[in-house]
Amino acid sequence: MAKYIGKRLLYMIISLWLIVTATFFLMRVAPGNPFASEKKLPPEIEANLQAHYGLDKPWYQQYTDYLVNVVTWDFGPSFKYKSQTVNDLISEGFPVSFLLGMEAIFIAVALGVLFGVIAALKQNKWQDYTTMAIAVLGISVPSFIMASFLQYFLAIKLGVFPVARWESFQHTILPAIALAAGPMAYIARLTRSSMIEVLANDYIKTAKAKGLSSGVITVKHAMRNALLPVVTYLGPLTASILTGSFVIEKIFGIPGLGFHFVTSITNRDYTVIMGVTVFYSIILLVAILLVDIAYGIIDPRIKLAGGKKGE
């Protein structure tokens, strides 16, 4: 197990290096620069600024400097937010994004699995049709439209929740729902189909022949097997929650990491773009690793490569 994780960590570092390199060069290729504004700066000032941030050095030196900085976990100063470093931005924004993301993942998994199991147990009955109709809506409606709808109806019309901003738990509910709707619908459909497949298995009949009640059969025998595909989806889910949060944070005016990320790109705030990309990549890679480890725990037939072989 330790050997397996060590190997995976090594691959993660390689992936990270590839991501850093690709982002670094793509960013340089994109037209514009952090100091471009409507009023043209005098060339001397611009040259000074460039020198201050090290942008006058040749590209390979900037690249190696940056790599060294990343390794020492120093993403440098922000070009736009004066007197703030990228590290500051991350440590400020991440807790907010993390809370929002966790809330959304919780809603998506809990409700998605619940709906999926209900739909499967009541296959081709009204409960099934209702939940699946909701699921199709959830998958087809993009999160930003969902967000606007929620704001309009629940906040403006009914006044149940605040429209935007990030102040209390109340404020977190609408963005979390908007973010969770798509993944939840997907999980519901996934759970339903895999649950139906599992319920048709012989071992469910064996369990029934033992005299177990249908509740015990559903929870102990069916769900554990049916949830394997859902666990697999948790990796991509993290990714979609992360990317979804860029838009949602912008719509709800939440000072999270996604908000900074989107702003930094329009500003060509090189260091922020790089720093946040690296940070997001690490989160994603760790999430995928955790999913793989969880998979091995849930399904004993999956032996993690590099782990103990055989019996």
């Binding site: 022949a209 005299g211 399904d299």
Partner: protein, 355 residues
């Protein structure tokens, strides 16, 4: 002998898009304590449905028991609710399924799968259940049960999984064990071992067994009595000797003739019963076997044959036993094996309805 099970005129049908399939059409048999009854027949003859109905394991709906009684220890199971059945399933009646590769839960330890039933039915503690699970694994001939009990099904071979299934089924010492083609998915050497194991355990535990199979070789090996099913009905039932050495029904003749034997030399083509079983959505008028039966009489197409009693234990549902029926010779392969049964009545007796 004490009667464990008495099935009376059981009828089961399934609601499908194509119409109502009458899978079981009036099956009656009984089973004594410690006895093994084999139910044989082609695929689709209703043998599995019959056996699963005994535990009410068929999905309802679309399945439905449309008539008859299942008297288990004198108590009718048909009107019982699912909740009431839970205390009978696994405790009084157990079942072993065909494919050991799929009938164990892949994500649960074998020991836990054995313990579940024990904890539910015998209200024992987890530790005691585990001790008992180890004993059971030992009983069914699994070496090193102490470590095997903590393993998952994928770490077991096919034969060992079927042994584990038997351990699960026997966990609560049921009075009746239903084995639905338990050896079909196993290779021949393992088949023999599993059959030996089942016979040995039956002697030890005095369980009655219903053995569903389409393998007549297996039947000869394990059964005391044999019921031959065709198109949802029992067409012939008798002791093993009566079915193998004095069969009366043309369908049984067909089955026996199509069994390869050592006497068959390479030149003889193996006999087969032509055609396919009838569609039970619209069961044919008269004898369901008539269209495939070269001995069919005119009446077979018009009226369903009644049950005739050949001996105390031997019944067959064919017009050929009627006093007015012409005398027909069974096929050679069957004729060779026929022996005179001393227990036979002088003449087959028509069984009155509602016996």
């Amino acid at each position: 002998m004490e009667k464990v099970l008495e099935v009376k005129d059981l009828k089961v049908s399934f609601q499908t898009y194509g119409g109502t399939v009458q899978a079981v059409r009036g099956v009656s048999f009984d089973l004594h304590k410690g006895e093994t009854l084999a139910i044989v027949g082609e695929s689709g003859s209703g043998k599995s449905v019959t056996s699963q109905t005994l535990m009410k394991l068929i999905p309802m709906p679309p399945g439905k028991i449309t008539g008859g009684q299942i008297l288990f220890n004198g108590e009718d199971l048909v009107p019982k609710s699912d909740k009431e059945m839970e205390s009978i399933r696994g405790k009084e009646i157990s079942m072993i399924f065909q494919d050991p590769m799929t009938s164990l839960n892949p994500t649960m330890k074998v020991g836990n799968q054995i313990m579940e039933g024990l904890i539910k039915h015998q209200k024992v503690s987890k530790a005691d259940a585990k001790k008992r699970a180890i004993e059971l694994l030992k009983l069914v001939g699994i070496p090193m049960p102490e470590s095997r009990v903590n393993q998952y099904p994928h770490e077991f071979s096919g034969g060992m999984r079927q042994r584990a299934m038997i351990a699960i089924a026997l966990a609560a010492s049921p009075k009746l064990l239903i084995a639905d083609e338990p050896t079909t998915a196993l290779d021949v050497t393992i088949q023999a071992q599993i059959l030996e194991l089942m016979k040995g355990l039956q002697d030890k535990l005095d369980t009655s067994i219903i053995f569903i199979t389409h393998d007549l070789g297996v039947v000869a090996n394990v059964a005391d009595r044999v019921a031959v099913m065709y198109a949802g009905q029992i067409v012939e039932i008798g002791t093993v000797d009566e079915i193998f050495y004095d069969p009366k029904h043309p369908y049984t003749w067909g089955l026996l003739a199509s069994m390869p034997s050592l006497e068959n030399d390479g030149n003889d083509e193996l006999a087969a019963i032509p055609g396919t079983p009838p569609d039970l959505t619209n069961p044919p008028v008269g004898d369901a076997f008539a269209p495939r039966n070269k001995y069919a009489l005119a009446i077979d197409y018009e009226e369903e044959p009644p049950m005739f009693q050949v001996s105390e234990t031997h019944f067959a549902k064919t017009w050929l036993l009627h006093p007015d029926a012409p005398n027909v010779e069974p096929p050679d392969a069957v004729k060779q094996r026929i022996r005179k049964m001393s227990s036979n009545f002088d003449k087959p007796v028509l069984v009155k309805e509602g016996k």
